[in-house]
């Protein structure tokens, strides 16, 4: 297990290879469908300090608000990442984001972007929401809650030992591509004999 403390340097990220198991600690931000669309249309400056050398978590949590107004994460596993394919590479490059955490992997455009700007794709386990919420030790802030709603707001969170696996690296490696190539072969035999 490789421990990563956020913010993280481009150099440290470029050393990672597919298959590496990572434990992440520090501050990161959630952003999913509506948030990515919003960023891509507005490129807001207020995200700079939150994103630079940091990580985006594709997650729409179940949350709980306490009487003093503070929040905690109740359930918070990853959502499917491929929907952010149109935006991801450009956003990572613009804000110097070092990793996105999600599930299911992403496509060629993101893979090329990871190599160019120095980033990795980290796969968290889908449906591990109760366990992963325990790794979110503090909710620091929430942005655009009113406009985007609970699942799609930007949640600025502090995590401790958040587990993920590198499935796409900055050297062109993608576990998703190699698994798909193998299963395509099997499927072809099953279908066409």
């Amino acid at each position: 297990m490789i421990k990563l403390q956020l913010p993280v340097s481009e150099q440290a990220i470029r050393e990672l290879k597919i298959g590496d198991e990572i434990g992440i600690s520090g501050l990161m931000v959630t952003a999913r469908d509506a948030a990515h669309k919003y960023i891509h249309e507005n490129w807001p400056d207020w995200l700079n300090p939150i994103m630079e050398n940091g990580m985006i978590y594709h997650c729409g949590p179940v949350v709980k608000q306490h009487e003093d107004g503070s929040w905690s994460f109740v359930a918070a596993g990853p959502t499917t990442s491929i929907r952010e394919e149109p935006y991801q590479a450009a956003i990572m490059e613009h804000y110097k984001v070092r990793a996105v955490i999600g599930k299911g992997g992403m496509g060629e455009k993101t893979l090329a972007g990871l190599a160019k700007s120095g980033g990795v794709y980290l796969h968290a386990i889908g449906g591990l929401a109760a366990s992963l919420a325990k790794c979110v030790v503090k909710v620091h802030d929430v942005y655009m809650l009113e406009e985007l709603g609970v699942p799609e707001a930007f949640w600025h969170i502090e995590v401790k030992d958040f587990p993920a696996v590198v499935t796409m690296d900055s050297h062109g490696g993608s576990l998703h591509k190699s698994i798909k190539a193998k299963s395509d072969e099997v499927a072809k035999k099953l279908i066409f004999g």
């Binding site: 729409g60 599930k103 386990i125 279908i191």
Partner: protein
Amino acid sequence: MFKYDEGVLKAQLLELIRLAATDLPKDVVDSIKAAQQNEPPDSAAHNVFGMLLKNVELARNESIPICQDTGTNIYLVHIPEGISMRKLTALILESTSEAVDKSYLRPNAVDSITGKNSGNNIGEGQPFIHFEEWDNDFIEFNLMLKGGGCENVSTQYKLPDVGLDAGRDLDGVYKVIVDAVNEAQGLGCAPGILGIGIGGDRTSSHQTAKNQLFRKLPDTNSNPELAQLETKLLINLNKLGVGPMGFGGKTTVLGVKMGAMHRLPASFFVSVSYMCWAYRRHSMIVKAGGEVSYD
């Protein structure tokens, strides 16, 4: 005449939602345990299954949603003659909103035109509630939570499909299902459970597919030809090597459940409803007098 107390039934419905969101059914847990045993001890697949099982236990012990995507809430309700569907719907909606307040459900209903989240998981068509009248003198509520990731990889084919060499027969059905699961890879949170609808029209075909997911994993199809095809698919789909989360492994699907409807001579639809491993469904029976049991 069947009577119930509204306050009592509302609380019972809230408990059904809590169970559905936080307590993975035994047949699904058993199936995941068996899949784990089938993988080499230090493999990625074995480890992933171990984490899933730990998460299931944590969610159950602390009443936390297994998955943050508490999905489309799909109700299939069987009612005796004379029960008002309108009143039961109102109670289901009240319990839904309360379940959001208790963090059992995520506010999951987004207005497709304005993009606004309703905040209480209630909106047009959400929850989805289907009623059927039956001869029994009690009410049965079946509830399934189906997340967006797996719904997005669900799909529909029409036969013939030239590209897949799939004709208008069960062999053609088999071929398109192999294609659907191969295309889904790990995106729908594999290993998946497939509900298959054969025939019908565009809508009823998908509905048939979804209804299959209310069946228990170890059951056997009452139609011998479909029973045989379910078994064949289960064996062959697990040769694809997609594995849990698409990390590779011997288990790509945990179950295949098929149903068929009559079709028009011109149409031959095959619908694939892909359910994620977090296969959340529970049922509740309410008898006259308020006696309740959950499964």
